[in-house]
Amino acid sequence: MEDSQIITLYWQRSETAIVETQSKYGSYCYSIANNILNSHEDAEESVNDTYMAAWESMPPHKPDVLSAFLGKLTRRISIDKWRRRSADKRGGGTVTVALEELAGCIPSEFDLQKEMEAKELAEVINGFLDTLSSFEKEVFLRRYFYLSSIDEIAKRMRISDSKVKSMLHRIRNRLRTYLEKEGYK
């Protein structure tokens, strides 16, 4: 079924919308959730929460790109769940490692008082992504949007683990420089 038809079903308040979403994007959402949570049960719960969130937001929302809309919802819900789950016992998992890696991108004199809202920072990152080649962009997004493991990225991109690591290292350095150039010193 076309995305526009699925969105129309949401607007019709037809529960079939969720069925069709599950059919078309269930595995996609699950893979994002499972990357973040590394738990089948938690990932399934996140995906169900995603469907519920989609149901509650359409209408009035009408996403331009349904897959991106669902991917972002799943990612946000899963990270929130990861944060709750990790409140007592911090550490472990792809998200923790990704956070440690990203910490290296934050300019050392980054002033917390001047922290932008995530949305504004996202605009800066959009600009940064436009400076990357398609291949670099895909590696970066697999790691930091989809939270895939190094091993999985290597397999999917058909390059070695060490190549992924070195590429990510270089991209992070460039991101750090880019953020500094944008005024985050």
């Binding site: 009035p60 990203l102 992504l129």
Partner: protein, 486 residues
């Protein structure tokens, strides 16, 4: 904390950067062997007279004709204006319009008009659930029983009601009872079927059984049924269901599917050929069990099948175009230029249809191509001839081909954030007859809190859109471009 902010910010990047990859790319488990075989195949591969089209941008032009009269369809939320609007200057109302809509009627006609002698427009409303087929619309009530199932035959004189037959029974297959539930009707010798609600939750992707009609047959349908093959892996089988006896026959019964798990199936009209995507469970070099996706083409008469990777090694996935053709489009991630391959099932040969073309839409016989000067051209995939789509602004358009592949619809989508940032509708619907070159565009006055979708072709010269504001049911608009009929 700052890293978490960065992590959150990355979660809000532009949609354009994101991609969907539901199933993993096939990993080259037999890489050495495959590379070797692929090299031989590449050398031996006989690309049938590959057009390898480099579009010749000659000044052959499709010029469109704008109709003078603007269509003003009924719009949810503006009912008080809608029916007076249908009787626009230049139009000829044929049916009286109704002032009120009964909630008990599954489908009601709201109006009909002829526009400039080129288009007939029919307007309907329904409070039920609906689906569109080529030639018919299905509706049922929005209740727990999905009661009152009806197939509406689309004719130039309105909709003709055909009460549906409901099939409901438990099908024991693969160690489980599948609750089969669908409606069907035979209209003009063709069987239409619809399962509402779709079945869910059987396999890991939430997919249940699916019902499909069989071309030129009114005595059977085929069910695509998920079955647990081992303790935790599903496969699918195509089961031919006799509508009188409710007995099933597994069309994959004799295929050698031992270590192959079927994900999705396509069958040819005559049921002689099957194409399916699936995965194979094998041990990798490290002794770990891996799952590798691929596609297979099957001759059901001889119960033989070929893995498409063994036919030709190319990145990406094959898709089923029609009974004789598979296709694969590969886009260069940097240049965004596309290369299209088609596989001819009867001959087993692969054709490189075009290479490195800036194709915006790829249809069966044509591709819409953007030239360096940003003009749009229609590229004939059979002859290589290109014609300019003169003055057509394609950004945000919906492009669709008619069932006979001869006519192409170009419908511009429009949003008006001043009224409602979520409103979207089709202010222009154009249809091009590729054989005659006739290209007619209907302008429409569609403003308001409207969510409109394109629903397809009830016949080769008619298109359907439907709109809703989310609260007052659905409005269905059928536009028949009568002047394009040959």
């Amino acid at each position: 904390m700052t890293a978490e902010l960065l992590l959150d910010a990355i979660g809000q990047i532009d949609d354009r950067f994101l991609f969907v990859e539901a199933s993993p790319r096939r990993i080259s488990l037999r890489r050495t062997a495959i590379v070797f075989i692929a090299a031989i195949l590449a050398a031996l591969l006989t690309f049938m007279t590959a057009m390898a089209v480099s579009p010749e941008f000659k000044e052959f032009v499709y010029s469109f004709v704008n109709m003078k009269t603007q269509d003003k369809p009924p719009i949810p939320g503006l009912e008080e204006d809608s029916m007076t609007n249908t009787q626009t200057q230049g139009s000829t109302p044929v049916h009286d319009t109704q002032e009120t809509v009964s909630p008990d009627e599954p489908m009601q006609e709201l109006g009909y008009q002829e526009i400039d002698g080129m288009v007939t427009a029919q307007y309907f409303t329904t409070n039920g659930l609906f689906r569109l087929f080529e030639g018919a619309i299905y509706t049922c009530n929005r209740d727990d029983e999905y009661s009152n199932p009806v197939f509406w035959e689309v004719t130039s004189d309105g909709l003709v009601q055909h009460q549906a037959t409901r099939v409901q029974f438990a099908l024991p297959y693969g160690g489980k009872d599948h609750e089969i539930f669908f409606d069907y009707a035979v209209i003009n010798g063709r069987l239409y079927e619809e399962e509402w609600p779709p079945n869910v939750g059987e396999d890991p992707f939430g997919n249940g059984w699916v019902c499909n009609s069989v071309a030129n047959r009114t005595d059977v349908v085929w069910l695509q049924v998920p079955v647990l093959k081992n303790n935790y892996d599903f496969t699918r089988y195509p089961l031919l269901l006799d509508l009188k006896t409710l007995e099933v026959t597994n069309l994959f019964e004799d295929l050698p599917l031992d270590d192959i798990y079927v994900d999705w199936i396509w069958l040819s009209d005559d049921l002689s050929t099957a194409f399916f995507s699936g995965h194979k469970k094998v041990l990798n070099d490290q002794g770990q069990m891996g799952s590798f996706s691929d596609e297979w083409i099957c001759d059901l008469k001889t119960s033989t099948m070929s893995c498409m990777t063994d036919v030709i090694e190319l990145p990406g996935y094959w898709s089923y175009l029609d009974d004789n053709t598979l296709e694969k489009c590969i886009q260069d991630p940097d240049t965004k230029l596309s290369t299209l391959y088609r596989y001819d099932i009867p001959s087993g040969k692969t054709v490189k249809v075009f290479e490195d073309v800036n194709a915006k839409y790829i249809l069966t016989n044509y591709a819409v191509v953007q030239n360096d000067d940003f003009s749009y051209w229609l590229l004939n995939l059979r002859t290589g001839e290109s014609k300019k789509l003169d003055g057509l602004y394609l950004a945000g358009m919906t492009v669709s081909e008619s069932p006979n592949k001869q006519n192409i619809m170009f419908a511009s989508r429009w949003k008006n954030p001043e009224i409602d940032q979520f409103s979207e509708c089709y202010p222009k619907i154009g249809i091009l007859n590729t054989e005659t070159g006739a290209f007619q565009i209907l302008k429409r006055d569609v403003k308001g809190k409207l969510s409109e979708s394109f629903y397809g072709w009830p016949n080769d010269t008619a298109v359907v859109t439907a709109s809703s504001n989310g609260v007052s049911g659905f409005y269905i608009y059928i536009y028949e471009f009568t002047a394009l009929q040959s």
